[in-house]
């Protein structure tokens, strides 16, 4: 099995699916000849040409709006938003239109596409190249949200996302675009949507996490283990609709729940997870669920490592919770 990083694995998935399914088209800013500012679409333009790997004018609204129309026609467009921070000009098309198309037409007009976009901090991008806007899409009924943490999942989840009948936001954690490496199976395989993965089994504390922060959680968990505290680390993978069973089963065993995310704390996905844990495992809770997250400030530039919920912030939470 070839070793790949995230960029290569996603590229591999796109190439694979474009060869397999002629309905798949990629469009966005700089996705063509230059292969995207992170080079995720590199080589696709040469292989599939300008009709299927399309550099567009600078308009996220146009990119997503046109992609919705393409999807209505029967293509499977995969628009790229250069940074998740720039998805907001397309927000209306996504939440008012894409999310509601199947519903509002009584099932007559599904609009199936996958929006790929890099998310999160870690590249010193400041306010506008670091955000993690998953909650703003999860709150909107009709969308699915995915965020892989490693190359094999990235390929398998992307293939699932493309073949899934519903619109998917595919968030790529740019901090680990090149840092996360691993074996990636050749050819066709999928990682199912809606299934979390227990990355590290444990019995004292349940840690739910996704994307780049997985490695920070694992780091913290390993440090905690040195102190005799065994964390169960769950990589959510599909952020919505999420794998409630895996989360709740774990919390029922550990009685202790921590969620980690980069996005600001308030009204983030962490809040939803805490609420769900309350609904479904209240009597098992032995300590108040905790959220270790980005702060409720815009994403800062210089103090990026202070802002992020890195292992130095996760570890004390684990220890404190275990002591509770």
């Amino acid at each position: 099995m070839p070793q790949m990083n995230m960029v290569q694995a996603i590229n591999d998935a796109l190439r694979h699916e474009m060869r397999r399914d002629s309905r798949v088209v990629v469009l966005g800013e700089d996705v063509g000849k230059v292969g995207g500012v992170f080079r995720v679409t590199q080589g696709l333009f040469d292989e599939f040409g300008d009709d299927r790997v399309i550099d567009t004018p600078l308009s996220e609204n146009g990119i997503v709006g046109a992609a919705i129309g393409m999807a209505l026609y029967g293509l499977v467009p995969i628009p790229e938003i250069q940074f998740a921070d720039f998805i907001y000009p397309a927000y209306d098309q996504i939440v008012s239109e894409l999310a509601k198309y199947r519903y509002r037409s009584g099932g007559e007009y599904p609009s199936k596409l996958v929006i790929r976009t890099p998310v999160g901090g870690g590249i010193r991008g400041g306010h506008y190249h670091s955000q993690s806007p998953e909650a703003q899409f999860i709150h909107v009924p009709g969308l699915k949200v995915v965020c892989p943490s490693n190359p094999a999942d990235a390929k398998g989840l992307l293939l699932s996302s493309i073949r899934d009948p519903d619109p998917v936001l595919f968030f790529e954690p740019k901090r680990i675009y090149r840092a996360a490496k691993g074996d990636v199976p050749d050819g066709d395989y999928t990682v199912p949507l809606g299934q979390a993965k227990v990355v590290r089994p444990g019995w004292h504390v349940t840690l739910v996490v996704w994307g780049a922060m997985l490695y920070e959680a694992l780091d913290a968990a390993n440090q905690a283990a040195a102190q005799g505290i065994e964390c169960e680390v769950i990589d959510l993978r599909t952020l919505w609709p999420l794998d409630i069973d895996t989360v709740i089963e774990s919390v029922k065993r550990t009685g202790r729940f921590i969620v980690v995310h980069e996005a600001p704390k308030s009204c983030g996905l962490g809040a939803e997870l805490v609420a769900l844990v309350n609904e479904k495992a209240f009597l098992h809770l032995e300590a108040p669920p905790l959220r270790i997250t980005g702060f409720d400030t815009p994403f800062p530039y210089t103090l990026e490592n202070e802002y992020l919920p890195l292992s130095h912030r996760i570890l004390p939470a684990i220890l404190e919770m275990a002591r509770y």
Partner: protein, 396 residues
Amino acid sequence: MSTATYSTDRPPNVSGASLEPQAAVARHPLDTCADDVIKVLRDDGSLDPAHDPKLAPSEVIALYRAMVRVRQLDERLVALQRQGRIGFHIGSLGEEAAVLGSVSATRPQDWVFPCYREFGAALWRGLPLQRYIDNMFGNANDTVKGRQMPDHYTYREGHFGSVSSPIGTQITQAVGFAWAAKLRRDELATLVYFGDGATSSSDFHSALNFAGVFKVPVVFFCRNNGWAISVPTERQTSSNTFACKGVAYGVPAVRVDGNDLFAVVKVARDAIARAARGEGATLIEAMTYRLSGHSTSDDPKAYRPDAWLDPWRRLDPIERLRRHLERTQGWTEAQDREIEVAVDAEVKACIAVSEKVAPPSLDSMFEDVYAEPPWHLVEQREQLKAGPRPKGHGGR
């Protein structure tokens, strides 16, 4: 910037290294930044041969019939709303020629992306009246399952899109749709409707720009009816016309008398033919006038004295077309009466049926959010079904 083919192996000459004035780009005959308005139907009912689309007499009668039917429906639906039997209606009073003339230019393979005032276009493309009326009642038979307001229907079989309320969004989608057809090398055109107000939306801008750059086979049909609710066109833009906005996108444009059925048919057919020939998009500005309030929720008296309507009442598209029929086909009042009676009967019958149909099921509320309901929706559905019903269950 006029080349839509994207050559990547030569330097773009757009910012022209020479900085010399570039040769003027040849204009399509429709490409006009001027204020000329295409007209065919003269006041006396005769036709100007210059732009005459040469409709067969039977075609003219079919369109006249469709226009009258739409107007009668409008009146009936407004009445139903006033009686509290339906919640809302948004009609096309005064804009019938714009709607019917344009849709009649579409061919079977073409597609229509509507705004919210084009139920006449849906009916023309075959939407069964019963289905439309079911939507007005939001009942269990409504194919959109009572989920949207009245006049927010779909009709995929008739190549007719999904009505939504947000202004402008359908324009960009229509461009994507038409673009996809082009990429698949399917010969079809996509006709998209919107109002003068919608030209200010972000979507108008994205849509026209993408259509220009990618030479998309789409027809932009702007119903300039003078108003966006209470905001007059002079407050909507400071450009000379709406048509001239095409210049900003390299999209040829034409301005047409929107109350002149023949002129509308002519420009719409030309635009569809251009699209079919692979020549890309056209922007049509149809100058017409909203004779009613914006919708049943609006009372225009607050911003528009009735007297302002007088010139437009004289330009009523149905009256003008009747004058033509009288002149060329000896049209009589008895024939009008015949239409009226027939439409009245079918409308009444449909209403009688729709009104008796139950509201959509509770289950239906959770379908189609996703292709399959995930666990949380199953849970919510079961909670709802296990719980009590509200006062006014199903809106009744």
